[in-house]
Symmetry: C2
Subunit: 319 residues, 2 copies
Amino acid sequence: MATLSDVARKAVVSKMTVSRVINHPDKVSDELRNLVYAAMEELNYVPNFAARALVQNKTQVIKLLILEEMDTTEPYYMNLLSGIAIELDKHHYALQLVTRNSHTVGSCDGLIVTGMRGEDYEAIIDKLERPVVLFGQNTRGYDFVDVDNENGIRMATRHVIDLGFEKILFFGIDLNEPFMYTRVKGYKKTMCLHYLPEHLFFMKNSSHAAQEIMGRQLADNRERVAVVCASDRLALGVVRAAQSYGLRIPEDVAVTGFDGVFLDRICSPKLTTLRQPVIEMGQECARMLLKKIDLDGGRLGSHIFQPELIIRASTKRTN
Amino acid sequence: MATLSDVARKAVVSKMTVSRVINHPDKVSDELRNLVYAAMEELNYVPNFAARALVQNKTQVIKLLILEEMDTTEPYYMNLLSGIAIELDKHHYALQLVTRNSHTVGSCDGLIVTGMRGEDYEAIIDKLERPVVLFGQNTRGYDFVDVDNENGIRMATRHVIDLGFEKILFFGIDLNEPFMYTRVKGYKKTMCLHYLPEHLFFMKNSSHAAQEIMGRQLADNRERVAVVCASDRLALGVVRAAQSYGLRIPEDVAVTGFDGVFLDRICSPKLTTLRQPVIEMGQECARMLLKKIDLDGGRLGSHIFQPELIIRASTKRTN
DNA sequence: AGAATTTTTGTAAACGGTTCCAAAAAAAGA
DNA sequence: TCTTTTTTTGGAACCGTTTACAAAAATTCT
């Protein structure tokens, strides 16, 4: 691989002139600039990022840590990734992916972290002494980007109440997840406000689990019911269970999901869901992080996005 | 950030000793080793990857270039990413993501490339003079990992022929894609072999497009028909169209998909599909690339995976 | 034209590690 | 005990780029 010195030698100029042609082309005379360009072309010169990183103490690399224990091949994460990539590309930063299998985290200019639970990773991250933005969680003194989980579920619950449902179930995932806790709160508060009894069910985030639990509910009791779900996967399971019992959606069983990333449109009937603008949220993460890097640390505040209640055939027939 | 020299000073040893503690701990006496560990701990020492990369001419970074024009937030790509990450983690390599928006590709030890079309990117990649493995395409003199597209579609087509279908449509995507070309070939060869007439349709890769085109077909003619689709998305559209005409699946209309990553299990009825082992393919990509890096270039041959024909309710009722 | 200013180019010293080799210390052999 | 060998430690140079400053050349001003 040709180095800057090789280019300098070929163009018969100093290393500095070559460096300047790369970084401040306008500070070099036309004549030399063209000589240098020609030499670079001829030698297939590619700048060495490590050398630059070393002297500037700037890697131009942002790491995304996806640390959740659940299935990270969900479209949700690809959207996040994509949003971050879009924004980083604009600012000439590279995106590096770190999963919970990774041995080391290593050098970078900043981190976006999602699914961090427990102190271990906090220590690792703090040690790096780099700006951090959390995604989808609110921990101690970190800046973060999240969706308003509580208000989302509140909107969904109110929506089915407005449709005249009186028995309303909540299907949730592992209660230890902080985002789950706030979703439950949204349900509880709304039910309380309308003097309605709570019916909480927790399961793992799979349509099968939801289908089975909903199946058991319907076996006991076929009264008109709405199910507010903590994810589109769960909602899909509820839909399946209702269909297998020959019940009409949304007349007999109404269902709402959460995420609005992929499943909601694929499902039939299409799901009423709380759309998280995941791509935009990813972009905002990247923007915040880059700003923190520019400002050389310091808190920046956080950004909470409102989910959008998208009303579709699983709760309301539209003609 | 503390440097190696800082640690050396604090432990009252030479830089070399610290470096050795990091890279060959057994070559250092217990006494000094512990002194160094203590100093590292106290100073929060994190090694500087750029410095190491510079002197070793080794970044420990692999870049994944996802260059397709289509929607790369598909679960398919996340699975690929995941497979690659799993394998790279094992060998202490970092994974960096490059999309077609990226301004530069930059230094790395090797590249995995998918969706490269045209000469522009080839030139960029060649210039880096780094080992490359292509994913899902077979171009000139590159090593690659792919799925046997032709044989896959051949299996699907034979499957519906075996089920007694005589009118068999093929729903494909943009014919310019090389993988599409071989899929069409699989259909044509099989149809030819059984003296059956070909019915080819091309559209963009969306369920809506497939639904509309299938709808038009059914409007004209309701005879028993099988549709071999080039993706699960298209298959989903076909299913929808058939359902909207009140036709029975699989008795009146049989459908096969391709990919088997996510949609096939979500769809109702579940899809018969050609499952690509995308995660394993990603792992194989990474393994091949790392081997090429170790072997310092040179061709290594390619790896073509067989897709698995998964027979489900969209073609055959199972009880 | 000659001094003052601006623009263009070059030199030397980092940046934080590792490689290569030499020196010192410890262990083994005579 | 004194070499010889092995193990442990350290010194200097270097990786490819940029930063900071100095020198040279070109331009402007008086």
